[in-house]
Symmetry: C2
Subunit: 395 residues, 2 copies
């Protein structure tokens, strides 16, 4: 059995954050995770062709044993050309000296505005304080320093017991805008003391990401900096059997689900957090295409904001999603209120559906009546504040 806990403390992992005034004043924007032991690591990176320099560094190092993750907010160090890469490598080198660890054992993440060079001197000057103050108690500080337009920090820990030993999985993320399938400006750091087999880490991590961080959408824009990282310290022996891994899988998925939920709750301008569940599709891919198209539709998202149970827009988005189904057989409901029943509108249920859609959280289910594959996306609404945040600020 897995259990949620507020205890984010590990003997092995240390955290810190400082203000390097990269973009913000009066808040921390430069953060570190340090691992006393070398870690096995897995990562999911953006599929965007335009990749930020720190992401290229992380991607090159991910197969190594990892000792540290260096993160900054306020500047993405993306589309910054040769100088951007030089800046990333410079930070890597100085940190490696300060911590006395191989430069190849450092992962780097940046998030913020694209196309502006990092204030690399200020950052280098801040590195000694960042390294000196590291402490196992400071996961919260780390989680706050990596925020951009996030309104709250995102951290979740689950614990479980296996062979009478207690283990934990902790996830820390930042999001807010540019959240789309295949990641987004989403940084997520998952730490565990469970000795998961290095051979299985990547597969397990990708599967967990698929149904959590890759099943949420705010604006459909996939960013240049998306990175999710899983770290687990080296051990003398590892769990490799599916039976031994099942609670770890469960805890990992629960942590990443929590992060996904918090990311949508805190989506830019969001007033609603809605589950879009496509059920009884012919294939998992159909279910995913269908729920994703509905979750991304600007017309559906504005209707959710306007508290209008406009199931026509939902049917329309399903229709262009690429999923294969017979439109005369589909059903659409808001929680348990059915508005379209196998192709026939149930107009008398509209008043009940209007009550459901006034909630800040509910589920829209589209039943394709074709097979037995399901997929769920989490989505936010499209509000005036989304426009305001993205029109008025360079992010």
């Amino acid at each position: 059995m897995i259990k949620k806990t507020n205890n984010h403390f590990y003997d092995n992992f240390e955290f810190n954050s400082v203000s390097a005034e990269i973009k913000y004043k009066n808040r921390d924007d430069f953060a570190l995770i340090f691992s006393k032991k070398p870690c096995n690591a897995a990562a999911v990176f953006t599929k965007n062709l335009v990749k930020a320099s720190p992401l290229k560094v992380s991607s090159a190092n991910i197969k190594n044993k990892i000792r540290a993750v260096l993160v900054n907010s306020g500047n993405a160090n993306a589309a910054t050309g040769t100088q951007g890469m030089e800046n990333a490598l410079k930070l890597n080198q100085v940190l490696s000296e300060k911590l006395n660890i191989p430069s190849g054992s450092i992962l780097q993440c940046s998030t913020g505005v694209i196309g502006i060079q990092l204030p690399v001197e200020k950052m280098i000057n801040s590195l000694p304080a960042l390294v000196e103050g590291k402490n196992p108690d400071k996961a919260d500080f780390f989680s706050k320093a990596i925020m951009t337009t996030d309104t709250f920090n995102k951290i979740s820990t689950y614990e479980f017991s296996h062979d009478n030993i207690n283990y934990r999985v902790t996830g820390i993320a930042k999001g807010a805008g540019m959240i789309a399938p295949d990641m987004a400006t989403l940084l997520a750091f998952i730490l565990t003391d469970f000795p998961v087999s290095p051979d299985k880490m990547d597969t397990i991590f990708r599967a967990a990401a698929d149904s959590t961080l890759n099943a949420i959408t705010v604006d459909g824009d996939t960013s240049t900096n998306d990175t999710a990282i899983l770290l687990s310290p080296e051990n003398d022996s590892y769990f490799i059997d599916d039976n031994d891994l099942s609670l770890f899988r469960e805890a990992l998925t629960a942590v990443m689900s929590d992060l996904a939920y918090m990311l949508i709750k805190d989506a830019e301008g969001a007033t609603k957090c809605v589950k879009i569940s496509c059920i009884n599709a012919k294939s998992e891919n159909d279910a995913r295409l269908c729920s994703r198209a509905i979750a991304q539709s600007m017309l559906v998202k504005t209707a959710i904001f306007g508290e209008d149970p406009n199931w026509g827009r939902i049917a329309c988005a399903a229709g262009y999603s690429g999923a294969d189904f017979n439109p005369d057989n589909i059903s659409i409901s808001f929680n348990n209120i059915v508005l379209l029943d196998k192709g026939s509108p149930l107009g008398h249920n509209i008043i009940e559906a209007e009550k459901v859609i006034k909630n800040s959280e509910y589920t829209i289910t589209i039943d394709l009546n074709e097979g037995n594959f399901n997929w769920t996306f989490l989505t936010s609404d499209l509000s005036y504040d989304y426009v305001k945040i993205n029109a008025e600020y360079t992010t």
Copy 2:
């Protein structure tokens, strides 16, 4: 040479509109095009799986000789099940009797809210007046009656001379929201007196639609009712050679370009009309994918609204578009102001770019420096009013 004209008058085509109070009060919402001669026809329909009943009727009849097009606004007659189809067929039958033409010679289009049954009795009661008042002078009335959230009616005519005979092409369209590649809630009716070969009509029409009506985007939502129709009266002989067809092609493309431009100018909530031009791509498909992803990006569209020359969001959208290119070689400019030059940001040009982006119309060019294929999309911005229109009204 082709020439724009305000003369939309044809001997062959008659128009009318009446108020059937389908949804709106105090305005016409039911409209007719009548052709004295049977017409050869071509059409482009939505690719949405969820197709409105009138669209199914039109799609079944498009290969016949066409005499009439019946259009209503205020109700899409989509996702209305068996009764929706019965209503469409009932209107078809009554109109066919009133006009004394085969029921198979009638095309039908509806636009408006999805999932509500047509007030078919009111519409049938309005048909006599609709038929009786038809007149070659009433193209403007027709163009106004088909509007939904459009703020102005859209009509364009070009004329040209071939073998010393004058011909014309006239286009009438409605749009406003749900405008996306592969059509949208877009109805477009193109009429001509040019005897284009029936064998070539379809190909010529699709090619013209591809670079005009299919190269605009407002919200990326492809509707259930999209239809573009080309009508040309039967003749004793037809032009079939490319030389004979070239001015017709040119006029057709000019008319449909005008309609596309007007559709974006009148996009829901739009304050800007921006050309997104991807140049020097490896293939036409790459150029199209790239310009389309930028044109559809909510982050790009809010930046356009906020008058922020945020080229980072443009590079980012290009990166996830699926187009193949080397991010270190791309250039991005606002009109002639270059902000990214083969991967290097030109920060000193920002002030000039900020001037460009204050205009209501301008061009964003992304040069992939890979090959010699180009594609251009027209897009609008994402404003508070887009959210307002789509959150507050059931459309």
